[in-house]
């Protein structure tokens, strides 16, 4: 069993003439929190969507959870959880029905769903709100719920696409506590963000510029390498060379 749960080699995605992801190669170790940084339009969401099977790569190789992304997508999907930018819960149905639905599509049995949903409601302090519509919940709660649902089936890896977008710093901080909890339970976390302070919470980070990986290491090592005080300075330095503008 390898310790690398994600391995990519020259992974490329082209949309017509536009190369969104330009031959990236990296790996993610089992159990680490891997930060995938980049400006809007740098290609980080595209790269992530290839790894979770929403888009097929144009060329290159990749393995997720030990499975090939071309041949073994079905097994990959059983091993991963995904939370998209917009939390993606059903606002017009109650909390408990959301839990049932996502538990169900991730392949849990009826008994498992029952057990997990009780535990989840308890953990998130939502037991009293189980019949409340999701639309009535505050943003921070929705976000926690969405994350908890992405890991309800205990995946090996969870992919988070800008999970903290549009949330205040205190709520973000609390959200990261959930991420640490998951990591402590052995879940590998692959997270994209454009908040540079969040990068410091990660074990290792990569910074994407114009579809390529411009830097990759632990936050401390990167600061040393670029002789910078924080990740923000490194990011600004790298992003200055970018040709693409944010979309």
């Amino acid at each position: 069993m390898t310790d690398k749960v994600i391995i990519t080699e020259n992974l490329t995605k082209k949309f017509g003439d536009f190369t969104a992801v330009d031959g990236i190669s990296f790996h993610v170790n089992k159990g680490e929190i891997f930060g995938f940084l980049g400006a809007n339009g740098a290609g980080k969401t595209t790269a992530m969507k290839m790894l979770i099977g929403i888009w097929e790569p144009t060329s290159g190789k990749a393995e997720v959870a030990g499975y090939d992304i071309y041949r073994d997508m079905e097994n990959i999907k059983k091993s991963i959880g995904y939370m998209s930018q917009r939390f993606s819960l059903y606002e017009d149905i109650p909390v408990i029905e959301n839990i049932r639905f996502f538990g169900g599509i991730y392949g849990l049995s009826r008994a498992e769903i029952k057990e997990k949903s009780a535990a989840l409601l308890h953990k998130l302090n939502l037991t009293a709100e189980s019949k409340t519509l999701v639309s009535a919940l505050p943003l921070g709660w929705k976000q926690k719920l969405a994350f908890s649902l992405a890991i309800i089936h205990q995946p090996k890896i969870v992919f988070l696409d800008e999970p903290t977008g549009g949330v205040d710093p205190i709520t973000r901080r609390k959200f990261w506590e959930l991420i640490y909890d998951a990591a402590n339970e052995g879940v590998t976390v692959f997270v994209t963000t454009h908040y540079m302070d969040e990068a410091e919470y990660c074990d290792r980070i990569s910074i994407m510029v114009d579809g390529r990986i411009a830097a990759l290491d632990t936050p401390a090592a990167l600061k040393k390498q670029f002789n910078a005080e924080n990740i923000d300075q490194i990011f600004t330095h790298l992003a200055r060379g970018a040709k693409r503008t944010a979309d």
């Binding site: 979770i52 929403i54 888009w55 995904y82 017009d92 149905i93 639905f101 538990g103 169900g104």
Partner: protein, 368 residues
């Protein structure tokens, strides 16, 4: 299996949570049946007409009495000069005017012929023609009664039987039409909207990244609307049998079987629409313009296809509702069995298979 049930359960939650879609789904078929059945009828009954009787003799009075006695007409205006006729038409008080010439009886008696003028409001040509036919029939009846006193050397009379629809009820035409429209609306439009909504909300990405099989996703989207559509078929048939006195002459199982097939056609069209677009509004627009409009115009439900220009007639063959309409009419009203409509059923089934294959292929591509 568990995946399928939680998905279907969620779909029903969406449907029952949204009062507006609930109204469209269950109240619309009933409303349409009642509107078409009782309000939008093109049968002629107690139409208001006017008479200008220049003769005012025995013959003209009998003729007017016969017109009044017919259930088609009600004499609302009696004129004394031609100008009043024009005014009555313009004021929309009458749909038909009858002008009887002076000396009507003596002309008949001495010249063996007389001329009566019929004026009809042809802003609605169909009604005008029908009224003219009915009035002429009443006049012919009168002519036959006076001819009875003489023996004509030759006479050919016609004996008319209106087959399958002896009372000439409009319901025979619109019940299959409304059924086609409702099934198309609910199955195609609602399904496409519900799939596109997942794209708009981004929940589609989560679903695609989950182990859920695309086939299960499609089935879970289709089954709730299939169930609802079959409930609607039952409601429509129940209304037509009880309230509109329209019996189902053929096999009810064949009717349901054909409805099931047509619902599948509509669902595959809905799936196709959801592949083309990412916005709920566009999906709705395509459903209305691309499906409802051809159904109204080219299915034969509103306008007879035989009267259309040849290119339109050819075009009508690709409208699935046309075939559904033909089959349902034949089975429900003529009481024909499978052996008489299998060709049409085959065409409809072929179309459905075609749409399903196309949308399935496109759907797979979206996953890639």
């Amino acid at each position: 299996m568990q995946q399928f049930w939680v998905f279907v359960r969620k779909e029903f939650y969406h449907i029952f949570r949204d009062k507006k879609s609930l109204l469209i789904i269950f109240a619309l078929p009933i409303a349409q049946m009642l509107i078409f059945g009782f309000a939008l009828t093109n049968e002629i009954k107690n139409t208001q007409i006017g008479v200008l009787d220049n003769a005012n003799d025995e013959a003209s009075l009998i003729l007017i009495a016969q017109l009044e006695a017919s259930k088609y007409f009600e004499i609302s205006n009696t004129f004394t000069n031609p100008d009043e006729i024009d005014a009555a038409f313009k004021a929309d008080k009458i749909k038909l005017a009858i002008v009887i010439p002076p000396n009507f009886k003596s002309e008949l008696a001495h010249n063996n012929s007389a001329r009566i003028q019929l004026l009809a409001d042809a802003t609605d040509p169909n009604t005008a023609t029908t009224l003219e036919v009915y009035a002429s029939a009443v006049i012919r009846d009168y002519q036959n009664t006076i001819n009875n006193n003489f023996k004509l050397p030759y006479s050919i009379s016609t004996e008319i039987r209106m087959l399958y629809n002896p009372q000439l009820k409009g319901a025979y035409l619109f019940v299959p039409g409304v059924m086609g429209m409702i099934l198309l609306l609910i199955s195609a439009m609602m399904t496409s909207i519900s799939i596109v909504r997942e794209k708009e909300l981004n929940t589609m990405e989560i679903i695609l990244a989950s182990p859920l099989k695309p086939m299960v996703l499609i089935l879970s989207k289709a089954v709730p609307y299939m169930v609802i559509s079959l409930i609607n078929v039952s409601t429509i048939l129940l209304i037509s049998v009880t309230l509109l006195d329209l019996p189902i002459n053929g096999s009810i199982w064949l009717v349901f079987g054909v409805c099931f097939l047509f619902i599948t056609t509509a669902l595959s069209l809905g799936l196709m629409i959801s592949n083309i677009t990412d916005s709920q509004q566009t999906a709705m627009f395509i459903s209305l313009m691309g499906l409802m409009l051809p159904t109204l115009i080219l299915s034969g439900f509103m306008f007879p296809i035989e009267n259309m220009p040849v290119p339109m007639q050819i075009l009508s063959n690709i409208v699935p509702t046309k075939w559904f309409f033909i089959i349902i009419k034949d089975v429900m009203i003529k009481g024909l069995g499978f052996s008489s409509v299998w060709r049409e059923i085959l065409i409809l089934a072929g179309m459905t298979a075609f749409f399903l294959i196309i949308s399935w292929k496109k759907f797979k591509m979206r996953l890639a």
